[in-house]
Subunit: 177 residues, 2 copies
């Protein structure tokens, strides 16, 4: 009872521990008219107000852009557009004038922000930048208030998919109680 | 080409947008000797230094405790201990003297922090508190540097599982390229 044991596992360092997590939600962020694939995304607050944050590496084109635009949209893709997800993660907005056109995605008019939304994504969140969080390390985080959102009536989270370095995965089955 | 369309989706408000994300990693946090099940967890930085953050509702017992202890461990469970995961999410440390004993989990000695680790979890991350993030809303976030981590040799992310309100899910299959 209540015994304290020695750890019988391998010690791992650096990012290996973090990469052991079982997946990150994958989304396409839209900042102004530029698209960026992101798995660095987290809920910050469910209510009063609802907040999410997205993490961007400072070298990325979107990093300066978001400071200029002051808002962003988060678009949850379905597996049907996995090629567009890959494209938006691979190609920089510095090198392409119109990522919507090149990726085959369709622009949708936002209600309350200036950044565009993506028609093919079954969920769109409109976010106004409220705070920037820089605690050092690889990513700077932009916290946004979800001022409104849009969802396809027939959307189910099972249509979405996950990412972690090296692989994309389907959402798994519900564990029966 | 490059056309701007009206949104044909339903407008949703509050936390419904955030809850549309395809799952959150589920972990058991250990603060001192108290255990808490958490799905509010995110990577903050992969390196220089590796950072993660955990979100805690201020009313929870762990909220005051973490300020006192100044470190925490993050333990990734496998589906084998799903009952312990549920137990640690349901029962407050205010009401139970020894959650390890009650949940059937075994204490493991940490290397570099004071908070205990969990033997039955195949991955343990030792985190030192570096910053508290309170931007209002439902959760306060504790950012920790991952000072070391431990992983079972045979661990695969497929053994882990995901959570979102209402259901637990297995990690899904890899999407073939």
């Amino acid at each position: 009872m209540n015994k304290l044991e020695e750890n019988d596992k391998e010690e791992i360092t650096g990012k290996a521990g973090i990469l052991s997590f079982p997946g990150f939600p994958i989304v396409i962020g839209c900042i102004g008219k530029n698209l960026i694939t992101l798995a660095a995304i987290s809920m910050v607050s469910f209510y009063d107000p609802p907040l999410i944050m997205i993490g961007i590496v400072p070298e990325r084109y979107s990093y300066d852009l978001i400071k200029e635009v002051q808002d962003f949209s988060v678009n949850i893709p379905s597996t049907e557009i996995i090629e567009a997800v890959k494209y938006c993660g691979r190609v920089s907005g510095r090198d392409v004038e119109d990522k919507f056109k090149e990726s085959g995605l369709t622009q949708v008019k936002p209600s309350k922000i200036s950044s565009l939304l993506i028609k093919e994504c079954p969920v769109n969140l409109e976010c106004k930048l409220v705070k920037t969080l820089d605690v050092g390390g690889s990513h700077v985080w932009f916290i946004g208030e979800v001022v409104t959102a849009h969802r396809r009536k027939e959307y189910s989270r099972s249509q979405a998919f996950m990412f972690w370095p090296g692989e994309y995965r389907y959402v798994g089955d519900v564990i029966k109680k």
